[in-house]
Symmetry: D2
Subunit: 407 residues, 4 copies
Amino acid sequence: MAMKAKPVQRWYSREVTATGHLVDSGIMSDVLDKIIGLGGKFEITSFEMGKTNVDQTNVNIVVKCQSRKQLLHIVEQLHDLGCSTVDDKPVTLKKAAKNRVAPEGFYSTTNHQTHIRLDRRWYKVTNQRMDAVIAIRGNRIECVKLRDISRGDKIVCGLDGIRITPEFRHRDRKDFGFMSAEVSSEKKVQLAVAEVASMLANKRKKVAVVAGPVVIHTGAGEALCKLIRKGYIDVLLSGNALPVHDIEEALYGTSLGIDTKTGKAVEGGHRHHIRAINQVYKYGSIKKMVKARALQSGIMYTCTKYGVPYVLAASLRDDGPLPETISDMIKAQEAYSRAIKNTDLVIMLSSMLHSIATGNMLPGNIKTICVDINPSVVTKLADRGSKQAIGVVTDVGLFLNLLASKL
Amino acid sequence: MAMKAKPVQRWYSREVTATGHLVDSGIMSDVLDKIIGLGGKFEITSFEMGKTNVDQTNVNIVVKCQSRKQLLHIVEQLHDLGCSTVDDKPVTLKKAAKNRVAPEGFYSTTNHQTHIRLDRRWYKVTNQRMDAVIAIRGNRIECVKLRDISRGDKIVCGLDGIRITPEFRHRDRKDFGFMSAEVSSEKKVQLAVAEVASMLANKRKKVAVVAGPVVIHTGAGEALCKLIRKGYIDVLLSGNALPVHDIEEALYGTSLGIDTKTGKAVEGGHRHHIRAINQVYKYGSIKKMVKARALQSGIMYTCTKYGVPYVLAASLRDDGPLPETISDMIKAQEAYSRAIKNTDLVIMLSSMLHSIATGNMLPGNIKTICVDINPSVVTKLADRGSKQAIGVVTDVGLFLNLLASKL
Amino acid sequence: MAMKAKPVQRWYSREVTATGHLVDSGIMSDVLDKIIGLGGKFEITSFEMGKTNVDQTNVNIVVKCQSRKQLLHIVEQLHDLGCSTVDDKPVTLKKAAKNRVAPEGFYSTTNHQTHIRLDRRWYKVTNQRMDAVIAIRGNRIECVKLRDISRGDKIVCGLDGIRITPEFRHRDRKDFGFMSAEVSSEKKVQLAVAEVASMLANKRKKVAVVAGPVVIHTGAGEALCKLIRKGYIDVLLSGNALPVHDIEEALYGTSLGIDTKTGKAVEGGHRHHIRAINQVYKYGSIKKMVKARALQSGIMYTCTKYGVPYVLAASLRDDGPLPETISDMIKAQEAYSRAIKNTDLVIMLSSMLHSIATGNMLPGNIKTICVDINPSVVTKLADRGSKQAIGVVTDVGLFLNLLASKL
Amino acid sequence: MAMKAKPVQRWYSREVTATGHLVDSGIMSDVLDKIIGLGGKFEITSFEMGKTNVDQTNVNIVVKCQSRKQLLHIVEQLHDLGCSTVDDKPVTLKKAAKNRVAPEGFYSTTNHQTHIRLDRRWYKVTNQRMDAVIAIRGNRIECVKLRDISRGDKIVCGLDGIRITPEFRHRDRKDFGFMSAEVSSEKKVQLAVAEVASMLANKRKKVAVVAGPVVIHTGAGEALCKLIRKGYIDVLLSGNALPVHDIEEALYGTSLGIDTKTGKAVEGGHRHHIRAINQVYKYGSIKKMVKARALQSGIMYTCTKYGVPYVLAASLRDDGPLPETISDMIKAQEAYSRAIKNTDLVIMLSSMLHSIATGNMLPGNIKTICVDINPSVVTKLADRGSKQAIGVVTDVGLFLNLLASKL
């Protein structure tokens, strides 16, 4: 080619900074990887490495890119990894022009702890969750879902003045001992049982269990009851199928029509679970049924007797649904969200839909254990953003029975 | 015990009758299997076998059992296989004493075509679906969900005077040619594509598609649009995620943040889909967005432009949800149920929740094809009662693209 | 069209007969289904139905078809279902012209018990297995693999004079109680454990275990040892990986490098298992290692100490292989085949390759239980012809530990 | 206990060094993570970070530990990540005392490029593969399997003087564009097809295909033939089942008895594949069959006609095996190993056993693509050490057909 002059390449650049266990947590490599993966270049302008593994590392990086748009993309990505821009700009705030609509350029949250800069100070954002906006309402700075935005809310926009603190994945995982990030069915589950038993025995704040009907089908209902009676569980999150089959078992001794003592089909399963629903309808609610002594065993009975709250959320495939099952999804999300406030351990038992839903609402630093015989459930949970979830791929019935016998 | 003589064994018995392609459809063997499996004995009192494969077979069987309760169970099971009791008793009707509560002993429906005997005549039940009751309201005889029972409705109870006509599974399956009951990934999917193409090309009544967001993620959005444009699809059933990611792709060229042209992550996926939701909130609805020319491509756009109705049902894990997503599950079930009226072909594409929900509402004789890369989805669908569903275990993206290229 | 005369349709027909629990076992419906599925018609010329469930049924069916070739196909299929042609023709025998080559039209066996008609009498075929030929050598009538045919062997050809007796699947399955044909992970595995425990406690002949290294990885090695010590297991079939990781655990306390006490990776796994192999090489064999007291625990040690024979078959992915691992597949197949002679129960534990291989060699009436966390293993086993296999989809580690605790 | 003074904690330490793209490749964080995960501490004594992403980083780290054994473990682990000890010690060599037995403390290889230090110089080890020893034989320094050790070979022991160069995973992966480490079925496979097509179109050295019989069952045989005819494939690695079903299809139009045109079972599949084997036995080999024009289509025919070598390795579940199938696993491993010499791209198509076996033999820098509908195959491949393998979770039949249409 006979080009006379190489056109001048314009480079856009921006400096970011991050502090923490950047190297040993893998964040440093994620940061550099991201820059290059997205077509940028980097120059490390300062690097103070923690000499030992209790020291923190501080790094400043200049990111360079040939397109302003691409640079913005990269900086946005780095932001999610805990890098903030070096200039101490305050957050940009715009007023919501109408209910439920965020202003253009609004900042969408991660599930990591977030601070925003206002009036030369950093403020912690409350109600942290992913896929929300940050709204300032009076003196509250909190995560708010799009649909909960009110006209006039001051909404954080752009990336300036926002700092997130990602969990130090690898390090945190160590609390779980043997349970690494890899999802595998070729592991000794007794060790996972022992660790979960130890977490429950030494529990600090609040334990939530998210459970699907497979708990009943696999014969682990009584094991879960035992955990409830002994005070290990503080709240139960589920859908409509778990209570239906739990009550079916309590009333008729079957689960989906399978006799839970013999494993044989005794009769049309659909008949039994529909009759169970009809019984609840007759009494008006599970609570009234328990009061009337018409329900005397099972998970729902035990929760009621021991004062463990439960939240039941409907889904499109439900029969019934039961009177206490919340049929409106917006209300159900709110009820779930309230129920998991202040939990520090969530155990998810064979319920993909409710587990992903709960994961969506959890801050990223809540310990989350997902027990399922299907490895893809754990994978999906992580894909949807709940990267802190530890998967135990095993038979949930055997798992819960073994767990109950250890406590 | 000091009993001197062996107590006389009391035998209870009841005669049932059935007519149809009992032998070649496998129903005859299911019937006898059920009797013995449940601890009964049988005596065949008459058997008129169809001499050729166009003739029907009629059989009368006396079922014997040592417990009245067990006998009832067996007869109930046989009933589900199409056996009615020989005595021409009319149905038993009881009035519902209050709303939402069926009388004791109410009959719970299957998804097979059902007739009831009243005034010495057989009447066909309308709105056939599983897990409902049969209610007589004025001159309507129809399937009604428990929650829709009104005080005073006459509800069918017991088993007398009820006759169901199960689909002849094996025979019906033959329409699907190569697609047998077995779920396997080791098959030549081109043949399945050819058969589905032929069904669509020769469609008789109404085709419903149930689709999940994987259609977008796997790059099959445009293929589905083509089917819609060409008039092969009459109604789209989905959740909230398919429209969100479809609009995300239309506005930003990504699906869950992955550039659908290059397959690379261009930016935080959560950002894009949340922004897409915000855009719909801004315009008020998908339809208004299309009208305002703010949405100009994708599945939702195409449905809107070509007048293909869609029903979107929320779930607990949704972001948003979009304004047109029905957040109340009872209303969503009703909308789905109305939408699939008169369909004779349902194609389910990578959406377990919505597929099972739709299966629950469908009469058992509607052709149902379930395409999913995960064989357990098809298994679950059948376990939940939709035994007519044919599974194609393959990559839904490649499947739809190939299908669109054949039509 | 102006065709003057419709061409005369030529129909070919052949009469077949079958006796047994044809209806309640599902065979009758399979037969008729097959005829129609393959484009034929049928006429039932006689039908003597067993009046009760202890009587047998006899049926004669004339199969009709418009092509001679298609008729042959159908008759061949029906043959596999236990139908023989009514004419009492003797078997057709042809001499093998050279080693390893069967004559044209040779009969390929199923895994069902087979009789052949010679000199007006029916003789039982010995060494029944699938995919073999029937050879007459002197007064022995036996299944012989293609590669074992010797020049001059009289080989059974065609279908005349061959009668097979399929297992009555559904009926037989009843012995397994709750374990039906369906493969599902949503079951109460404790019941399966109880049944297998009962089978072992009441064992009649010989129990073979086929096991993969997952038994070690999931912490069930000691449980299997206990079963061996207590005399429940008569022969162990495996590959190279189970003994390698078993010895790795015995010598170094790890399995694939994972500490089996803590579940943590202590060191490069490849290092440990390679060192374990080197130790066996040093002593010359597992047996010599045990004798030299260099191996004092684990499955291989226990087998050696308690005189339970084991057969180890190599595969392409092996390291080593160990001296006692048979590296030639033809010899390994023969060793497996000898080892499973006279077993009446085979338990397959997380080893797809060796389970399918064993299934290939087993007569169809041997009880076979396949425990695997992956449902597709059981499906594949059945697809490859071992339809008698009952699947238990669960965690093999928890399963074996629970089983050992029950015995 | 009556101990007066707390015992002085003894610390053991060792310094290691590494050079390369340590940070952006994730190796640096892996190194520090490993130290802490194994209970050690670290002090970074020098750190020269590459200023830009083309510069290399050099780091020196002192590892500290309270147990000499633990320290050794950590150093061994770090070694696998590319860290060598700073002292420039030469390798330790010990003579093998007898055939097949390595001296105590032998070094077991990884699949990463390795150098050893001898006479103050670094030498590259040839025939790199995992789970081997490094032997010096005359002037050859090479990886040798345990079983190939000869008495007198000088074997590398310990860790001194050994340096490995791990592939820079993340960076390398970039060549594959969209295909990241995550295994997911929710991706746009057309993009993977396009990239593989581009790799084949621009191929540099040698492409090996490892394929299982699913290629035939899913109707992709002709697509693979097209790739062979066009010269994209240099060697085919398989087992016995692929050629058997390929020849079955060529002779009888079926695959496992399923008509590949109609997808319907035409006849007992076992019959056809056994007959196919008998035909090959009759002619003596595939090559002779092709020469005699008795085999005129299919993959094996095409390989033979176009001079593409194939290596067939037996397994325990094989029928036959075919004359050209190598029944001895040691010989089969050697043949595979020779066949993949100098390949720079390996495509694995639905064959777990042969894929893992091939992965075991490959140096870690060979591009490896694994196409399977089952995500666990890819996971297993990586678990077994072939971390470079990129997984495409899709239908292999549709994948190959689409690939062939792009080339």
